[in-house]
Structure formats: structure tokens, C-alpha cells
């Protein structure tokens, strides 16, 4: 599945970051690298963007960009 499909409060593990160029580089720089565990926090009032928790901090990104991140849902 992709990150944009993860429900609020659920955990996921990153498998790969797709896409290219600047967007992808940014995602990787911000720590969305393979095997990292992320925790879905919330959606903005209008449903987009979303916010996730990883590596000890909270990050916001749009659904469209989150759909580039392939994950597997896990239970912690």
C-alpha cells in the first residue's frame, strides 16, 4: 500500500520511495528511507495534507506526494 492510504493512528514501515527529482530527494533527506517506521498522526481540516511522526519528529506532506511512498502496515 502507499502512505496516503494509511489510517490515522496506524503504523507503517517504508518499503520504497518512488517518484523522481526534487520531491524524492526531499522525502529522502527528511528521513523517509526504507525500513523506517512511521506513525500516521492526523489529516488537515480539509482532508489534505497529512502529518506523520518519524525519527522523533512530526512531518507534514500532501496526499499526492505521500502516494509516492510505498509502505507496509505494521502493528506495534
Amino acid at each position: 500500500m502507499t502512505l496516503d492510504k494509511l489510517s490515522i493512528g496506524k503504523y507503517g514501515r517504508i518499503i520504497a520511495v518512488r517518484g523522481n527529482g526534487r520531491l524524492r530527494h526531499r522525502l529522502l533527506d527528511m528521513g523517509l528511507t526504507p525500513k523506517v517506521i512511521i506513525h500516521m498522526q492526523r489529516k488537515a481540516p480539509m482532508g489534505d495534507p497529512i502529518s506523520i511522526y518519524l525519527r522523533g519528529y512530526e512531518l507534514t506532506l500532501r496526499l499526492e506526494d505521500a502516494s509516492m511512498v510505498e509502505i507496509e502496515e505494521i502493528n506495534l
Partner: protein, 666 residues
């Protein structure tokens, strides 16, 4: 000795900078970078200069701030780097450190927010970190001024012994081999371009275009490097970008396993979640934001700010009366008395009395920014802003624009695409800056006594609505293409530190007062002079015969269709280009009156319809010189003229349409 401060956004970099330099700060100019960076003198040793670089997460070439930092570090050769890291999100901070370490510059890592690290139950073994990274690691709490002296001592030691970070491998296997091979191939080129070879090698593998250009590699060398990279990609079944990022984070994760103990629960984040449950609430989030903005304007205009401003303007008027009486008793030449009272006191005083209001507005806006709420505003407003072709990040410059357009334009550097940056810079002048506030205040007092608040809010709203329309039009015509990805850290909520806030307020106060006594002072004297004498330098009885009236009446006809074709209004608009508050000071000088009794004389110049038309024009016409200069710095000369002409043209059209319609309806 020049020490550069580098670190993530929200890592407490500015707090540290303020602790190190106090109020000894200015905007510095460095030939190697095209934009200005902040610099200051270290308080305990005046021979040390500290440079505050923009907050960044990586040294990739994707935003102007990252490029600025790179250029500064590579081309200006600072003597040392202080890399500041937020101890509560160590991994992400170290990701930048690993790139900075390759630059061959003496470097110390300061782990900041140690107070929060302790209270969150995190244990960081700095000795282990230092052992692996081979640079000094100093724990600090910048907001509590703890560890700062140790930090500076470490930097000074390192720099005096010229201790650059020793070369070391952060990786093994395929990435390691490719890095070495690449560094070997480009070594000569790197030396010629004056870029450390290992840094150049990593960047080339990441696909960094600017570095590629700087190195000027031959075709043969490019092919060899490319071949090596493809081999690495195949071996790891990861592409180059992911391979490098993964290599860095892999190293950091291993290191943190050895050096950091993290409790399961992140207490500070848990608190932030609770606050966010309210502030970014599905239903209440946006109304709360609007409520906060209204509260800010209400406090500024109706409660604290205006109360303090009234007090101050009363005091200035009293002082003027006293001075006038004193000068007259002394028997001074009446022309000199007029210069002091009608020129300096009227002009400078009219601006000075607004300083408290402006400071209150800046104070409240700075609370939004420093507490971390501004990032939430970007989060909740992103979807709406996307509809007009922008991203949530653009809301920050626009909100700052209500204070002053100059820092607002400078803050657009955080926007990672030129398209968004340009569009935001073009739209920010639509947000009424605080220097326009005196104009609104004086005019609403004179013409809309019963609807003061309504007209004031109206001005702000008209600006916003026109900005939205302008955005929608330019999205279709000029700024095609997609907005940038919106990827942003939501920092934990923090109480703004007293010292930071005070320093900011002091800077703004100083700025406005300096301007009152320089630009406004000189402008007031010039206006007074041109208004007092005729072309034969005789003192005029009626200012209708003055030099200024002559000049003004040449321009004035242009504004007849807008309803304010009198020479005083045109003069005020011209001086308003120097600084917006000069519009009011000019009227004060021309009508030789203080702030408190300007209403009567103004009513002779305007009707309430032409006054509103004048307000519309001042809301929209060309931003002041300082803003125009900031636009030039960020976007170049062409864009600067586009901003001036567009804004003035739009102002003319809007005021014209309003005035003509209003006259038709009667």
C-alpha cells in the same frame, strides 16, 4: 575569525545566535553569495564574527537557502562551523552533519535543547558520538544560555589548531567503493574548483547539477563515473539518490543505537499532539486561526497599541507646544521656529507616535512564529492556498507582510521553488504593512469617524481579496505549472524565549525610530523647505505659492479622475514611496499640524469619497523603497520594475473605478 552557524530549521539556531552576539547584529554582505546573511560579533571576543546561515535539512541544490549555505561554506571559507542539532530529533540533524563534515572546515556539533532531552527522558552519550564522528560534541541549552561558553571554547581551540574533521568512511560495500572511485577520478577537477573531493564525489553521485558544472568534467571522466554509479545501483538494487540517503541514515541509526537511549513515549510530542487536537481540529482549526488573527488586529488597533500611541502622540504634541513657546520666548527667527515645529516635530512626531502600535503588531506576529503555530497555519491552510496556485508555506511570508514587507520577502527563501517564491513575493505587498496603518488611522479618523473599524478592516480585506484574484489570474496566465511539494516539519510547540522576543522587538523599534530620524526627518525638512519658500526663495504667506505646490500641481492632474487631484495628495504619495508612514508625516508638515488635529485641515482637501479613493490608492500603489530593494535582491531588476508598475497601475485602476462609480451613484 569567522564562524558559521549551520543547522536545521527549528533547531534553535537563531536563539544561539542571539546568545552569542546579543544585539551586536547586522546584515552582512559577502561577495561569494548573492543574498545577505546575518552576522554578529561574539560578545566575549570581539575578534570573532558569527554568521547565521539559513535553516536547512540537507546540502542538496533544491532551495535557494541550501544553495546559499553551500556557496557560503565552499566559497567564503569560514574558519569554523558550529553545527547545531535539536537533541530531540538527533537523527535528522546528524543527516546534515554528515554532509557538513565533508567540507574540510573545522567543525563542532552543538546538541541543543538538552533541557528538553533530559525532561523527555532521552539519554545522549556525547562521548560515543564524538568518538565516531571525530569532532567535539557539546551539549547546550541555547534558551537557558547553558553550555555556550564550552561550545565557543571548543570552536576556538579547533580553529586555532586548524583541526579539520579527519577523513573517514561512513559506509562500506558498494557505496564505499563507488565513492572512492569517483573521488579519485574527479580529484584534480575538485582541487581546481576548490571543492573538497569527497564532498564533490557524494554530490556527483546524488546527481547534483551545479557541482557537476563547477567541476567541468570531461566526457571520458563523466562516463567512467556514470559507469561506476550504475554498477553500484545494480548491486544494491537501489537508485543513486536512495543509496546515498540510505547510507547516511544507516550510519546514523547504527550510531544512535550505540549512543542514544530513547524512551518509548515522546512526552513533549504527546503534549504537542494535545494542543494540535484543538488547533488543527477538523472543524475548529480554521475558525480558530481566523479568530487568532482577529484577536491580533483587535489587540493592536483597539486595545494596547492605539492606547500607547495616543499617549505618545499626546506627549509629543505637548513637547511641541513647550518647544514652540520656548523658542518664541527666546525670540528666535520665526522661520527657524517653523522649521522645528512645522517641519521636524510635525513630520517626525507623526511617525514616532505610531511606533507602539507597530511594535505590538510585531510582538504578536513573532509569538505566532516562535511558538511553532505558524507551521500549523501552513498545515491547515495548504489546501486552500493550493486552489490559488500556492502552497501552505506561502502563508508565513504573507502573515509577516502585515508587519513589514521587507522581512516577509526575505522569508520567501524558505520556499523551494522559484515559481512559488516569485508568486509569493508578488502577492505579499497586497497585505497591508504596518507602516500603512498611520495612513488608515488618520484618514478614518477624519472621514469615517463612525465606521473607523469597518473601514480599517475593509482595507485589509480588500488587499487580501485582490491578492486572491491576482493569484487566480496569474496562475492561469503567468505562473503555470504545479506548486512545489509541500513537505515541512511541524516542530513541537515551544514557549518563545523572553530574550529572543525582546531582541526582535528591540531591533524593530530601533529600525522604526532610526527611520523616523533619518528618512522621515530629512524628508520632513525638504518638504517643509519646499512648502515654505517660493521659487525666488521668499517665505510664502500661503503655501499655494510654494515651490512644492508648483511641483505638485504638475503631477496632480493625473489624480483628478481619482478624486484627489490636489498637489498635497500627490506630494504625500511621492514621499510615501520613501516610506509609507511618510504619507502621514507629509500631510502633517503641509498642513502644519500635529497628529491629533489633522482631521479638520484634511477635510478641506478630500471628500469622504475621494478620501476612500485615496486610501485604496495607498493600499495598492508601489511598495516603499526598502521593499523594492528587497524584491530586487531576491528576483532581480526586471521583476522589481514589474512589481512597481503592476502595483501602481492596479492602484490607479481600482481607485479610478471606485471613484467614478461612486460619483455616478452619487
Amino acid at each position: 575569525m569567522i564562524i558559521a552557524l549551520a543547522g536545521n530549521q527549528n533547531s534553535g539556531k537563531t536563539t544561539l545566535f542571539n546568545q552569542l552576539t546579543g544585539s551586536n547584529q547586522r546584515v552582512g554582505n559577502f561577495p561569494g553569495v548573492t543574498v545577505d546573511v546575518k552576522e554578529g560579533i561574539y560578545r566575549a571576543d570581539k575578534s570573532i564574527k558569527i554568521v547565521d546561515l539559513p535553516g536547512i535539512y540537507s546540502l542538496s541544490p533544491y532551495s535557494s537557502e541550501e544553495i546559499l549555505t553551500r556557496d557560503f561554506l565552499i566559497k567564503e571559507h569560514p574558519d569554523g562551523i558550529i553545527n547545531i542539532i535539536d537533541g530531540t530529533s538527533l537523527e535528522r540533524g546528524l543527516y546534515l552533519s554528515m554532509q557538513l563534515l565533508l567540507l574540510n572546515i573545522p567543525m563542532v556539533i552543538a546538541i541543543n535543547m538538552m533541557d528538553e532531552v533530559y525532561s523527555n527522558g532521552i539519554v545522549i552519550n556525547t562521548d560515543t558520538l564524538s568518538e565516531f564522528l571525530k569532532v567535539p560534541i557539546i551539549p547546550i541549552s541555547a534558551n537557558k544560555n547553558e553550555g555556550i561558553t564550552d561550545l565557543m571554547q571548543a570552536v576556538i581551540n579547533l580553529v586555532s589548531n586548524r583541526c579539520t574533521p579527519p577523513k573517514q568512511d561512513f559506509c562500506a560495500g558498494a557505496v564505499h567503493r563507488t565513492l572512492h572511485a569517483t573521488a579519485h577520478i574527479l580529484e584534480d577537477h575538485a582541487q581546481r574548483a576548490n571543492i573538497p573531493a569527497s564532498f564533490a564525489a557524494v554530490k556527483i553521485i546524488e546527481g547534483d547539477e551545479p557541482i557537476m558544472k563547477d567541476l567541468a568534467l570531461g566526457k571520458n571522466e563523466k562516463d567512467m563515473i556514470e559507469h561506476g554509479i550504475v554498477e553500484m545501483e545494480n548491486e544494491l538494487s537501489l537508485d543513486r539518490m536512495a543509496a546515498i540517503a540510505d547510507m547516511r541514515y544507516q550510519y546514523i541509526e547504527d550510531l544512535c543505537k550505540k549512543a542514544v537511549l530513547r524512551p518509548k513515549i515522546d512526552k513533549h510530542h504527546a503534549k504537542t499532539i494535545k494542543v494540535d487536537n484543538l488547533l488543527t481540529h477538523k472543524i475548529f482549526g480554521i475558525p480558530i486561526f481566523l479568530g487568532i488573527m482577529m484577536l491580533i488586529f483587535w489587540l493592536t488597533f483597539a486595545v494596547i497599541g492605539s492606547y500607547l500611541s495616543d499617549l505618545l502622540s499626546g506627549a509629543i504634541d505637548n513637547l511641541a507646544v513647550l518647544t514652540s513657546a520656548g523658542l518664541k520666548a527666546y525670540g528666535i527667527n520665526p522661520v527657524v521656529e517653523s522649521l522645528v515645529i512645522d517641519g521636524v516635530f510635525a513630520g517626525v512626531g507623526s511617525v514616532l507616535s505610531f511606533v507602539p502600535t507597530i511594535i505590538v503588531l510585531f510582538f504578536l506576529l513573532s509569538l505566532l512564529e516562535d511558538s511553532g503555530y505558524m507551521a500549523r497555519v501552513a498545515f491547515i491552510m495548504d489546501k486552500l492556498l493550493r486552489k490559488i496556485g500556492l502552497s501552505g508555506k506561502s502563508i508565513v511570508p504573507m502573515l509577516i507582510g502585515f508587519g513589514c514587507t521587507v522581512p516577509a520577502i526575505m522569508s520567501t527563501r524558505t520556499l523551494t521553488s522559484d515559481r512559488d517564491k516569485k508568486m509569493t513575493i508578488f502577492l505579499t505587498p497586497f497585505m497591508s504593512c504596518s507602516a500603512k496603518l498611520p495612513i488608515y488611522a488618520v484618514f478614518t479618523m477624519a472621514f469615517f469617524e463612525n465606521y473607523r473599524a469597518l473601514v480599517m478592516i475593509g482595507m485589509y480585506l480588500i488587499g487580501i481579496v485582490l491578492a486572491i484574484i491576482a493569484a487566480l489570474i496569474s496562475k492561469k496566465l503567468v505562473f503555470k505549472g504545479n506548486p512545489i511539494p509541500f513537505i515541512m516539519e511541524l516542530p513541537n510547540y515551544r514557549l518563545p524565549t523572553f530574550k529572543n522576543t525582546m531582541l526582535l522587538l528591540w531591533e524593530k523599534t530601533k529600525d522604526f525610530i532610526t527611520r523616523a530620524f533619518t528618512i522621515i526627518f530629512i524628508a520632513s525638512i525638504i518638504i517643509w523647505f519646499l512648502n515654505k519658500f517660493d521659487i525666488r526663495f521668499n517665505v510664502v504667506q500661503d503655501s499655494k505659492d510654494s515651490i512644492l505646490a508648483l511641483i505638485g500641481s504638475i503631477i496632480a492632474p493625473i489624480f483628478i479622475p481619482l478624486g484627489f487631484g490636489n498637489w498635497m495628495a500627490s506630494t504625500a504619495l511621492i514621499t510615501g514611496f520613501m516610506a509609507k508612514e511618510a504619507v502621514v508625516s507629509t500631510f502633517a508638515v503641509l498642513l502644519s499640524t500635529g497628529m491629533d488635529n489633522m482631521s479638520g485641515p484634511l477635510a478641506n482637501l478630500f471628500t469622504s469619497i475621494s478620501a476612500f479613493s485615496f486610501l485604496l490608492f495607498t493600499l495598492l500603489y508601489t511598495p516603499c523603497v526598502a521593499t523594492v530593494a528587497a524584491v530586487k535582491r531576491e528576483l532581480g531588476t526586471k521583476s522589481m520594475f514589474v512589481v512597481i508598475l503592476l502595483q501602481t497601475g492596479l492602484a490607479y485602476i481600482v481607485a479610478l473605478v471606485f471613484y467614478q462609480l461612486a460619483m455616478l451613484i452619487g
